[in-house]
């Protein structure tokens, strides 16, 4: 499964490789963010969604996101050397988990890779204006996420975000996330 996914991601990455050949030369030895995540967890990307991949903390915290309009399914890995968050508790108390300073709310649970995980809900600012303008009223999108511990003290944050304050009438994004979570597997485990 990991191999199959790696091929899919390699092809996706390859689609943009021509455009970023100069960048690739500088990082040819490093794993792409998707490859780094693939080493920890396997998953099947939602069909037809655009892949974005990047990393924070100087490459220590890889991120891959599947995007369709205002819907976004994200896989983030933390807890490795140089990570901004050493433990799940650090992440849950940080800015990435809360709503502009407020703690995330528990919003049920979900089974992922054979484990029952708490689902949290948070709001995050969307459609921001000129960064030189004093802040005004902020529209908040909604994000649901769960934290999956993986090997080596690392953990994966799986999330679904809707970059709009308006509820999704069709639940299209939520359904895609639910389907995505069912494909998430830990290497070497039958779940």
């Amino acid at each position: 499964m990991i191999f199959v996914l790696s091929v899919v991601l390699a092809l996706s990455a390859g689609a943009s490789a021509g455009k970023t050949a100069e960048v690739s030369k500088t990082v040819k030895e490093a794993l792409t963010p998707s490859q780094a995540i693939a080493a920890l967890v396997s998953r099947r990307p939602p069909k037809g969604w655009n892949l974005e991949e990047y990393a924070n903390s100087g490459g220590a915290d890889p991120v891959e996101a599947y995007v369709d309009g205002v819907d976004r399914i994200t896989v983030r890995a933390f807890g490795g050397p140089g990570s901004a968050y050493k433990k799940p508790a650090d992440f849950l108390s940080g800015a990435a988990a809360g709503t502009m300073g407020r703690k995330p709310e528990a919003a049920g649970s979900v089974k992922v890779a054979g484990r029952r995980l708490t689902v949290y809900k948070r709001g995050f600012p969307v459609n921001l204006g000129d960064p030189h303008a004093p802040s005004g009223p902020t529209m908040l999108g909604r994000e649901y996420f769960c934290v999956l511990p993986v090997s080596g003290g690392r953990f994966i944050v799986l999330s679904y975000a809707r970059e709009s304050p308006a509820p999704d009438l069709e639940r299209r994004g939520e359904r895609a996330w639910e389907a995505f979570l069912k494909t998430v597997k830990l290497p070497g485990r039958k779940t």
Partner: protein
């Protein structure tokens, strides 16, 4: 449908975190939010208070003796101390910080040439002199004072300042002179900063008073103070003025007149750089101006205007700084820090997005304004054309997202009508939501126009950069990306972000504009929608 649906659902809020530290009354006391000018030596050291520790001091303390000290509710717990005395006291912290300052001073001494330190380490020496000078021996203090004087021009006001402007508790090293009072030091620093600035005359008497107040407020914050010290010690200069900002306007929200346009900008190509504050600030409410204009001043003066001078001294060109994405992020962090330290509202979406996911913050700016579309990370500075080319495709994605956003909002107009017609709810309750929907459409129209401008700017830049005459610029960008200045700039970014996380960690978001009483919010609409789907699935095209 009954009005019971409007009652907020009980949310299963779960407090997610605990601390490994044992229960302790002193630990449980809320951490101080403001640095005391004369803290009792035996009181717990308030490590999380803004200005209490430099980022590198915090890191040093937390890694001492394999993690002997750990942070507990804003204070430092000593694993080796008895349980009832486990919190580090001020006197113990000063001893440790003095030890570190002496060690760092010893490490800096060999780097000095003719008594002066090179630019790359001068910032550290300045911070040691001003913040830890009273903990050092007179010899170390004298060394730092002399080593940090700028070479090119007399340092305005430096001679009248004593080390340890913010030194802890007025403590002095044995044999050292007593530190001057904090108020006198602040006044001297302000004089020193003013001497580094050319403040343009203004016929409007409000301008003089407002600029004066902003400078006083800025130097009154820990971040502003530290940067004022560095700015003056480095011999940097700037012009300050109020000016017109296109399409600017003030608006009344919640009874307060506030600014809803760019707060200002800096002409970094001028010598010295010219900082322009939006003159409309003068019409805003004093409490809004005190915080927001001071934050803008910090952003422009100690961000853009100072950084370009640091870069020039390090041998970098203006263009290298112009295209470096950290210039905006670093300035942003200064403004956010100043705003937080002034007790301002933590309602800046850019700030929260940066703290949550720095890379996404940068990506978001690329489709915000044309200028940001051509800013680059250090890795991207080595491949500028390929990077900009990859961003052209991102504009199409941003167009689709903008349209999807507006559509997601507009789709709710008929559904809102459903709650009114089918459930008899008062249409007036939904007026805020209708305003948001209308604003989303306006925003998307404006956003699509911005994306047109970004596309033009981006493709024009790509075209220019592909020409042979742009080869020197590309070489310059690549060299800049590997420079000591950029490494230090990235380190400053990380330190400021850490500091900001520490400050905002204990505070919660306050809305600039609280929900209007009697009007439904989007959260309310979510609850209504979920409840109605449960109670009346047939209303939503499903079988009951």
């Amino acid at each position: 449908m009954s009005r019971r649906l409007l009652a907020p659902l009980v949310l299963g809020a779960v407090l997610l975190l605990g601390t490994s530290a044992p229960a302790c009354v002193t630990c449980d006391a809320p951490p101080a939010s403001v640095l005391e000018t004369d803290p009792p030596p035996q009181a717990p050291f308030e490590a999380a208070t803004p200005g209490a520790l430099l980022a590198e001091e915090r890191e040093w303390l937390l890694t001492l003796e394999d993690g002997r000290y750990e942070e507990v509710n804003g204070r430092l717990s000593d694993r080796k101390a008895p349980a009832d005395e486990h919190l580090l006291t001020n006197s113990a912290a000063w001893a440790l910080l003095g030890r570190r300052a002496a060690e760092r001073t010893a490490a800096l001494r060999p780097l000095a040439r003719n008594g002066r330190l090179p630019e790359v380490v001068r910032g550290e020496a300045v911070a040691l002199f001003w913040l830890r000078g009273t903990l050092l021996s007179p010899e170390d203090r004298d060394f730092l004072r002399a080593a940090t004087l700028p070479e090119d021009k007399p340092q305005a006001g430096a001679g009248e300042l004593e080390a340890g402007a913010e030194g802890p508790g007025g403590v002095t090293a044995a044999g050292g002179p007593p530190a001057a009072s904090a108020a006198a030091q602040s006044a001297a620093l302000l004089r020193s900063l003013r001497a580094s600035l050319d403040i343009a005359p203004n016929a409007d008497p409000r301008a003089v008073a407002a600029m004066d107040e902003a400078l006083v407020s800025l130097v009154g914050t820990p971040t502003g103070r530290e940067l004022a010290l560095e700015f003056t010690a480095s011999g940097s200069r700037a012009k300050l003025e109020f000016g017109e900002v296109k399409n600017s306007a003030t608006v009344i929200m919640n009874g307060r007149r506030i600014l809803r346009s760019s707060g200002g900008h800096t002409f970094t190509s001028e010598n010295p750089p010219r900082v322009v504050l939006n003159q409309d600030y003068l019409d805003t409410d004093p409490d809004f101006r005190r915080v927001n204009m001071t934050a803008t001043l910090g952003h422009e003066l100690f961000g853009h205007a100072f950084e370009v001078q640091r870069a020039k001294k390090a041998g970098l060109s203006l263009k290298s700084v112009y295209h470096y994405r950290g210039d905006e992020a670093g300035s942003g962090l200064i403004g956010w820090l100043v705003q937080a330290e002034l007790g301002g509202r933590l309602d800046n979406g850019h700030m929260w997005n940066y703290l949550a996911d720095p890379e996404r913050y940068h990506t978001g700016l690329k489709t915000n304004l044309p200028y940001y579309a051509t800013t680059l990370s250090l890795a991207e500075m080595r491949a500028p054309v390929a990077t900009l080319e990859s961003r052209v495709a991102a504009i199409d994605t941003a167009r689709k997202s903008g349209n999807a956003y507006a559509a997601s909002m507009v789709a709710w107009r008929p559904r809102i009508a459903h709650f009114v017609s089918a459930h008899g709810m008062d249409a007036a309750q939904f007026s805020s939501l209708h305003e948001d929907i209308a604003a989303a459409v306006v925003w998307n129209n404006s956003h699509q126009a911005s994306l047109d401008s970004i596309h033009t700017h981006l493709t024009g830049t790509i075209e220019r950069w592909k020409k042979p005459e742009s080869a020197p610029l590309k070489t310059e960008l690549a060299a800049a990306s590997r420079s000591a200045y950029m490494r230090q700039a990235e380190a400053r970014l990380a330190a400021r972000a850490d500091r900001l996380r520490g400050i905002v960690g204990g505070r919660t978001r306050e809305a600039t504009i609280p929900p209007v009483p009697g009007k439904l919010t989007w959260d309310d609409l979510h609850r209504l929608f979920e409840q109605d789907q449960q109670d009346h699935p047939d209303h939503w095209g499903k079988k009951k």
